[in-house]
């Protein structure tokens, strides 16, 4: 155990990298989720089709394959990304594809009658989405987004394979330097669990805040 303690600086560094990677890619994923998710409702078929291609591509291939591709192949094609950036983009684009489905589903779950009420009051399409549909859809999205955030955190571990110095990568360094196995893995699993539990707590808090005083039942999705 003493040996492990000696490595606490790099464990802390790894934890910070993992959190940075999670937060930054969550941000990327969130933007993509809305852009791609809402594109599915576009009047223009070109926009809708692009959104579907994006979705199927990033949802259809493994995250690890996408990362290797971005890290090893893109540079050969002339696109140079710093490893952390490659990791953020890979994680963000991957999760963004799942998130876009959440956005689409939540908007679709707003009853048809609400569309009709907005039309009857002569709302424009933009106003309908901005003032009627999204305010009702966002609370529905939050729990699922919470689950996706956990998926994202776990996905960042895979980034260790493209040599981003996250928590998992640091555990590997410690293993090689100390020839210990059980201890580094147990420690990082506990750290992951703690980070994930904080994320769960934060989402629950937001969900409570946003539904407070309103009759919106926020369901945990499967």
């Amino acid at each position: 155990m003493d040996q492990i303690l000696e490595y606490s600086p790099i464990l802390i560094e790894g934890t910070i990298t993992t959190i940075e990677l999670t937060v930054a890619s969550a941000f990327v994923a969130l933007i993509i989720s809305f852009v791609v998710g809402l594109s599915r409702f576009s009047r223009f078929s070109a926009v809708r089709i692009s959104a579907i291609i994006y979705l199927e591509f990033f949802r259809g291939t493994s995250a690890i394959v996408q990362m290797f591709f971005m890290f090893y192949v893109l540079p050969l094609l002339g696109v140079h990304l710093a490893p952390l950036l490659a990791g953020i983009i890979a994680c963000g684009f991957n999760l963004g594809s799942y998130g876009s489905e959440v956005v689409r589903g939540a908007v679709q779950s707003v009853p048809r009658a609400q569309h009709e009420a907005a039309t009857a009051l002569n709302y424009t399409t933009y106003q309908k989405f901005r003032y009627v549909l999204l305010p009702q859809a966002i609370p529905v999205m939050i729990p699922t987004f919470g689950n996706l955030l956990i998926e994202l955190l776990k996905l960042t571990a895979v980034a260790s394979l493209i040599t981003i110095s996250d928590l998992t990568f640091m555990a590997q360094i410690i293993r090689v330097q100390t020839a210990l196995t059980l201890e580094p893995f147990v420690i990082i699993m506990v750290i992951y669990f703690i980070i994930a539990s904080c994320l769960v707590g934060i989402t629950d808090f937001i969900a409570k805040k946003i539904t407070k005083g309103r009759n919106i039942t926020v369901r945990k999705e499967i």
């Binding site: 199927e56 990082i188 699993m189």
Partner: protein, 222 residues
């Protein structure tokens, strides 16, 4: 860098062998995930608070920590504790265990989504608990479970490349090993990505069809 068909042809046979392992891992892993998931769901719905809470936290721990780290753990730590697993067996166990925490939610939601009125109707007709489950609840709960369970099969398929980290030579690792010894990255990685798309897009389509097919019948118990 130029695409070389020579390299592509060279790596294909090895990838084909890897694909067999990938498919094996996916299906056995899925069966395990379904069986363990059902067990977890039953334990979770147990009347004993201790059993149900323990199940909950164990599931959450598994669900909130990365599969990659769990795989390392199963492969490198378990043997020290006396359980010796081949790489593929450890990989399948890891996949099955990790995803059982997801499938268990499908089972639970499937059963809980049967309207309350159905339990009451069965009770008012004097059905025994076993008869209620067997003749009333399960026939209604199972069809809606099929699409999400099929979706997890696809997800597991996409996660199999993680097994490369514990020396399983599946599709991705086969390509990766080739890359490492021939220092060619473009073709193998692109082919792996293409392989995944070829399998997962049609399967996603089939899963969608299943979803349509098994949508809850209207009427009945409104």
């Amino acid at each position: 860098m130029e695409w070389s068909w020579q390299v592509a042809l060279d790596v294909l046979p090895q990838m084909a062998q890897g694909l067999v392992i990938t498919i094996e891992a996916t299906f056995i892993g899925a069966i395990l995930a379904y069986a363990l998931g059902l067990m977890l769901a039953i334990l979770r719905m147990s009347k004993s608070r201790a059993i149900s809470l323990t199940t909950y936290w164990v599931s959450e721990f598994i669900r909130r920590t990365p599969l990659l780290v769990q795989l390392y753990f199963l492969f490198y730590v378990l043997p020290d504790l006396g359980l010796f697993l081949s790489p593929l067996a450890a990989g399948i166990l890891g996949l099955g265990l990790h995803f059982s925490t997801y499938t268990s939610e499908v089972f639970r939601a499937g059963i809980e989504n049967v309207p309350h009125g159905q339990w009451e109707a069965a009770k008012s007709l004097n059905y025994k608990p076993y008869q209620t489950m067997r003749y009333v609840i399960l026939p209604q709960a199972i069809p809606p479970m099929i699409p999400p369970l099929a979706n997890y099969l696809i997800t597991m398929f996409k996660e199999t490349p993680l097994l490369s980290a514990i020396t399983v030579v599946e599709l991705f690792n086969a390509a990766n090993i080739y890359s490492n010894s021939h220092y060619k990255y473009l073709e193998p990685m692109t082919l792996v990505g293409a392989f995944f798309l070829i399998v997962s897009i049609p399967s996603a389509y089939i899963a969608m069809r299943l979803e349509k097919k098994y949508q809850r019948r209207g009427g009945g118990s409104v």
